[in-house]
C-alpha cells in the first residue's frame, strides 16, 4: 500500500492534537482515520476498526433530521465534499451508543495540496449542546 500524500499525513497529525472530533477520508470516501474524540461518536476505536468504507461509516452513527428521518450517506457533508471537491456544512442529529439523539454541526473541507490533486477530505464535528 502506498503512503498517503503529505497533506493527509499532516491532517492526521493535526487531528491527533485536537479535542474536537475529526474524520479524514481518502478520495474514494474510505474513512482512513478518526481521532479519539471521534471514537466517542462512532462508538468504535480506530485501532480496532482500521479503515472503513463509506457505506459502513456513513450509517454507523445513524444521521437523521429533526423529525427522525434517516439522512442517506450522499447527503452528509463529508460525502458531498468527496463528490464535489468543495467545502460543505450541515447541522443534523446523530445517535449516541446509548440511543440518545444529539445535534451536531459538521464542516468538511477538501484536502488539495501542492500537487494540486484531490487527496481526500477532512470533517470536523461540533456538538451543538457542548458548553465551553
Amino acid at each position: 500500500m502506498s503512503a498517503h500524500e503529505i497533506e493527509i499525513i499532516l491532517s492526521r497529525q493535526l487531528a491527533d492534537c485536537l479535542t474536537v472530533p475529526v474524520f479524514i477520508v481518502d478520495p474514494e470516501g474510505t474513512l482512513i482515520f478518526y481521532n479519539e474524540p471521534a471514537e466517542q461518536i462512532l462508538g468504535k476505536r480506530f485501532q480496532d476498526t482500521g479503515e472503513m468504507r463509506v457505506g459502513d461509516w456513513g450509517n454507523d452513527f445513524y444521521p437523521h433530521d429533526e423529525k427522525g428521518n434517516t439522512i442517506p450517506p450522499a447527503d452528509l457533508p463529508l460525502v458531498q465534499t468527496i463528490n464535489s471537491h468543495v467545502p460543505a456544512h450541515k447541522t443534523f442529529w446523530i445517535k449516541s451508543m446509548e440511543g440518545k439523539s444529539f445535534k451536531i454541526s459538521v464542516t468538511s473541507i477538501p484536502i488539495i495540496g501542492r500537487s494540486k490533486e484531490f487527496a481526500g477530505a477532512l470533517a470536523v464535528f461540533w456538538d451543538n449542546d457542548l458548553k465551553l
Binding site: 503512503a3 499525513i9 492526521r12 501542492r114 494540486k116
Partner: protein
C-alpha cells in the same frame, strides 16, 4: 552508482577548525554513474564540484529539494552559471502560489544578489517537478512532498536496480519521538522503501528535538526508525547542526549508537566522502 557528499552542514556554512571533519559547507550531493551526473541541492557544497573536469557536456541538471537558503546559497556562485555555453536545468518543487522561477528570482536578484536572473550568462531552464517519476539520462527520479516548512520534496534516484534516497530536511512527525505505527502514514516512506542508501536529516539528538519541534528537522532516533521501518540498507545522517562542532556531533552519535541496535550500517555524513551503492 556513486554518491559524493559535497556539503553536509545545515542552516548556514561554517568554517572553523572544529567543523572541518564533517564539513562546513551546506547541502549538495552528487549522484554519479559513469559519465552521467546529477546534482542534488545547491548549497555552498556545490562550489566543491570540479566542473572543468567532469562537466564537459553542455547540459547540467540540478535538483532542488526546496528553496531554503542553505540549499541554494551556491547557485549564484558556481562556475558554469557564468558560462554562456552552458545550459543549466534547475528542477524544484512547485506547489506555491508563485512559480518556481518567481521564487528563485527573489534570491537571484538585487538586493540579495547583484545580478538579475534574466542577466545570468548561462542558459537557465527552470522546471517545476512533475508529480510522476521522470528520467534524466538513465536516472529515474521520483520526488515526493515531505514534512518540512514550505514546499519541500525528497528524492529517490534509481539507476538499474540500485537506488539512493535523499531527504536532507525532514520532520516526519511533529512533536513526537516516534513514527505512526502504520507505514502508509509516514512522510517520505515510499521514497525510502528498500533503498540502498538513505541520506537523511538527523540534525538533533532526541533531547534537543524536544525543544525544536516544528522547526522542520528530526532526531537521529527518528531518522534511524524511518530507515529501519522502510528497510533502507544504509543510513547516512545528514544536515549537521552548525552550532555543533564535529566533537559534539560525534559524541551525540556515539551515545545514539550505544543505546540503539540496528541491522544496517549508520554513519555521520562527512563532506568529501564518496559512497558506492
Amino acid at each position: 552508482m556513486r554518491i559524493k557528499l559535497h556539503g553536509t552542514r545545515g542552516a548556514y556554512p561554517t568554517s572553523s577548525r572544529e567543523t572541518q571533519k564533517l564539513g562546513g559547507k551546506t547541502p549538495c550531493i552528487e549522484i554519479i554513474e559513469k559519465n552521467e551526473r546529477l546534482i542534488l541541492d545547491a548549497g555552498t557544497g556545490i562550489l566543491n564540484i570540479d566542473f572543468d573536469s567532469y562537466y564537459t557536456s553542455v547540459r547540467i541538471d540540478i535538483l532542488l529539494t526546496h528553496l531554503h537558503m542553505d540549499h541554494i546559497q551556491g547557485l549564484g556562485f558556481f562556475k558554469p552559471i557564468f558560462d554562456p555555453n552552458k545550459e543549466i536545468h534547475i528542477w524544484g518543487p512547485g506547489g506555491s502560489s508563485y512559480t518556481l522561477k518567481d521564487r528563485l528570482n527573489r534570491f537571484l536578484s538585487p538586493p540579495l544578489f547583484p545580478v538579475m536572473l534574466r542577466d545570468i550568462p548561462s542558459k537557465l531552464v527552470i522546471h517545476e517537478l512533475p508529480n510522476e517519476p521522470f528520467k534524466l539520462g538513465k536516472f529515474l527520479i521520483t520526488s515526493k512532498f515531505v514534512c518540512h516548512p514550505g514546499p519541500t520534496v525528497g528524492f529517490r534516484i534509481q539507476f538499474g536496480s540500485k537506488s539512493v534516497t535523499y531527504i536532507p530536511d525532514h520532520e516526519p512527525m511533529l512533536s513526537s519521538q516516534h513514527l505512526f505505527k502504520e507505514d502508509n502514514w509516514i512522510s517520505g516512506f515510499d521514497l525510502c522503501k528498500n533503498t540502498d542508501l538513505l541520506v537523511h536529516d538527523s540534525q538533533y539528538s532526541s533531547g534537543e528535538y524536544e525543544n525544536k519541534a516544528g522547526w522542520g528537522h528530526c532526531s537521529m532516533e527518528i531518522a534511524a526508525e524511518l530507515s529501519a521501518r522502510a528497510r533502507a540498507r544504509r543510513l547516512v545522517m545528514f544536515h549537521h547542526d552548525p552550532e555543533q562542532t564535529d566533537r559534539d556531533r560525534t559524541k551525540i552519535f556515539r551515545k545514539f549508537l550505544s543505546t540503539h541496535r540496528y541491522d544496517f550500517p549508520i554513519e555521520l555524513a562527512v563532506q568529501g566522502h564518496e559512497i558506492e551503492v
